[in-house]
């Protein structure tokens, strides 16, 4: 916004147009969706609904940060869903038998995520395996591990651990704090630190990044580790929210995190994207399903609508770049 006032445009319509082109379409879509929802469904404007939407989008929002990070270097992580399922299973099963060791269990779960990220990252960056196939492979293998240790939903998280998703600090729910901290820190790292800039450099052009002395492999590896780490955090949050382990609970998050990142303007070929756009994408996905549920639209149509929006969002981008 400050950019357009500095430019001192000749007319006010000109400045508005310039302002509009600097804002990503995903934010318009989100605002439009909120307005339409508020008008069509009075209960939407209530604080409780807003809170519900926030809590139900938190796990996806956490994972989307990792997915976006990997996509910034033209990677993709199809193993996040399986990592989440695994973490819900491990945490719920262990907390049921050892309720006094919550701290260690959380550490173990995070360790699992980091380990998976390390494996993905080493194989993709140092052995140059195709990220799509490789993370599909690790995801498939992990799903096998999940089903091996927990075939049907079970286990129980401790009462205290449930508070992570249900409690609040004064009037502010914990999930809001988690999201704010995560996105502020993540955006700061990506936009303001040398590391973040090198991520964009690698994503923009890997060869020139390598030639200009960046440790490309190490950067790519670190992003996969971040994605695995955040997937395990998302899994922990999910376990806290549903209260038990579920071997298929993470399943939908793989595709949804990719969809959210893509809706938010992250380019599949790397170099373009940011976290806030992805967060808007997350909210679009979860507001949409909340609204359709409130209006008793069968979940069957939600699939059709979700798919159309995903394709439509990128098609809109095409028309925009052509008109410029």
């Amino acid at each position: 916004m400050s950019k357009s006032s500095v430019d001192r445009p000749q007319s006010s319509t000109d400045s508005i147009r310039r302002l509009l082109t600097t804002i990503k379409p995903v934010y318009f879509a989100l605002v439009a969706l909120v307005i339409i929802s508020a008008i069509s469904e009075p209960s939407f404007a209530q604080l409780r609904t807003a809170r519900n939407i926030l809590v139900s989008s938190t796990a996806l929002a956490i994972v989307t940060v990792g997915q976006t990070a990997v996509m910034l270097v033209a990677g993709i992580d199809l193993s996040v869903g399986a990592v989440m399922s695994l973490v819900t299973a491990v945490s719920a099963l262990l907390m049921e038998s050892h309720p006094e060791m919550v701290g260690w269990i959380v550490l173990l779960c995070v360790g699992i995520g980091v380990l998976v990220g390390l494996i993905n990252g080493i194989l993709v960056s140092y052995l140059r395996m195709n990220p799509l196939i490789l993370t599909l492979a690790t995801g498939t293998a992990l799903q096998g591990v999940v089903l091996h240790i927990l075939y049907s939903p079970g286990g129980l998280v401790t009462r205290g651990f449930r508070e992570v998703s249900r409690g609040s600090l004064g009037p502010i729910p914990y999930p809001v704090i988690i999201l704010l901290v995560l996105y502020l820190v993540g955006s700061y790292i990506l936009k303001e630190t040398p590391y973040g800039l090198s991520v964009y450099a690698v994503g923009g052009n890997e060869n020139s990044a390598r030639l200009s002395g960046l440790r490309v492999n190490r950067i790519k590896l670190s992003l996969f580790v971040i994605s695995g780490f955040l997937a395990s955090c998302g899994g922990l949050f999910l376990a806290s929210r549903i209260g038990s382990g579920d071997p298929l609970s993470g399943d939908s998050f793989t595709m949804d995190s990719i969809a959210a990142a893509v809706l938010g303007g992250t380019n599949l070929f790397g170099g373009i994207g940011d976290l806030w756009g992805g967060l808007a994408g997350v909210f679009i996905i979860s507001i949409l399903s909340t609204m359709l549920n409130l209006n008793n639209v069968s979940s069957f149509y939600q699939w059709v609508i979700k798919g159309t929006i995903l394709i439509g969002a990128l098609a809109v981008e095409f028309f925009e770049t052509r008109s410029q």
């Binding site: 993709i76 194989l123 052995l127 140059r128 395996m129 195709n130 799509l132 196939i133 490789l134 599909l136 492979a137 690790t138 995801g139 498939t140 293998a141 992990l142 799903q143 096998g144 591990v145 999940v146 089903l147 091996h148 075939y151 595709m255 990719i258 969809a259 893509v262 599949l268 070929f269 069968s298 979940s299 069957f300 149509y301 939600q302 699939w303 059709v304 609508i305 979700k306 798919g307 159309t308 929006i309 995903l310 394709i311 990128l314 098609a315 095409f318």
Partner: protein, 330 residues
């Protein structure tokens, strides 16, 4: 190979094997068929029962639908694209055919034609959005996966009705002598795919497109048209696979296509087709389908649960990914 080996001494034999091996290239069509043979030998060691004609034909029948689906996937992968929506085409074709046929052969021909048209239409939409709106294939077909699944649920209202007609049932689960009928359809598709890829201009254009899209466009290849054709073929083959699968299970079932998109990618990739485009074959893809079907059958045979099968499938995919890296270096 044997002639070379017998003529030489020990070192010569090793050398000959090495040369042959390099010529095969790790991850190529020949490698996967060698792996199939190796797996057959292992199966024989595990249990003599595994080598019965009935059992092996049963494995081949299971490979048929996967092989047909994977051939379509391979055509798309060769252009540098990907088709995540083919599994849901299987589901939609399954529920549409079961509902419309309702156990009677009366409307078999129009229903089959309709199902093929559904597959072609989904492929056409994929191809047009990818080429005309320049949306990446992964996103388009991921969105289409969601849309087609939604349509299948809306169409059946969540509760599929009806059943497959006798003729379609014969296609999916019948036998001609000892040979399951489905295998013939797969053979036709595999042979047609091989001829298409190796002997026709269209096949050359598919490879050219995957190798270097810009270069092929500049040299006069109608890249958009070729891309659309690849996705339409993948959609149609998904519909064929859907009809065969329907014929086997006999009723409509909404989850029937879930995960088959990834299975088809796995079969193509294990068979030497590369995700980066420009490399792949119908013969290798057929080998990939046989290999996976054989492996799963063997794992079930020795009593390993589904969870272990998934783990092993993951490891095999990773090995295939590594083999591709190796073959690209040499």
């Amino acid at each position: 190979m044997t002639l070379d080996a017998e003529r030489g001494e020990n070192q010569g034999l090793l050398e000959a094997v090495r040369v042959r091996f390099n010529r095969f290239q790790v991850g190529s069509a020949a490698t996967i068929w060698l792996a199939v043979v190796a797996l057959l030998v292992i199966a024989r060691i595990v249990s003599a029962d595994f080598w019965s004609v009935t059992h092996l034909f049963n494995v081949a029948r299971q490979a048929s639908a996967l092989g047909i689906l994977a051939t379509g996937q391979a055509l798309v992968l060769i252009t540098g694209g990907i088709d995540l929506s083919n599994g849901q085409v299987v589901t939609l074709v399954n529920v549409v055919s079961a509902t419309m046929l309702d156990g009677e052969d009366t409307f078999l021909v129009p229903v089959v034609l309709l199902c093929l048209a559904i597959g072609a239409f989904v492929g056409l939409l994929n191809g047009l959005i990818i080429t005309k709106l320049r949306v990446p294939p992964l996103v388009v077909t991921l969105g289409m996966l969601s849309i087609v699944r939604g349509i299948a649920y809306v169409y059946t209202d969540g509760a599929p009705k009806g059943s497959i007609s006798p003729i379609l049932n014969f296609v999916g689960s019948g036998f001609v002598g000892p040979v399951p009928t489905a295998i013939f359809f797969w053979l036709v598709v595999a042979v047609a795919g091989t001829v298409l890829l190796r002997k026709t201009p269209l096949g050359r254009y598919l490879f050219a497109l995957g190798g270097n899209e810009k270069a092929s466009r500049l040299s006069g290849v109608r890249t958009d048209l070729i891309t659309v054709v690849a996705y339409v073929l993948s959609g149609v083959l998904a519909a064929v696979a859907g009809l065969i699968i329907s014929g086997y299970i006999g009723t409509g079932s909404l989850g029937i296509g879930d995960g088959r998109n990834l299975d088809s990618i796995a079969a193509a990739v294990v068979g030497g087709t590369q995700l980066t485009g420009g490399v792949g074959s119908a013969v290798g893809t057929a080998g990939g389908a046989v290999f996976l079907a054989l492996l799963f059958s063997l794992l079930r045979f020795v009593g390993l649960p589904y969870s272990n099968q998934l783990m092993i499938q993951g490891v095999i995919l990773a090995v295939a990914a590594y083999a591709h890296v190796r073959s690209n270096r040499t």
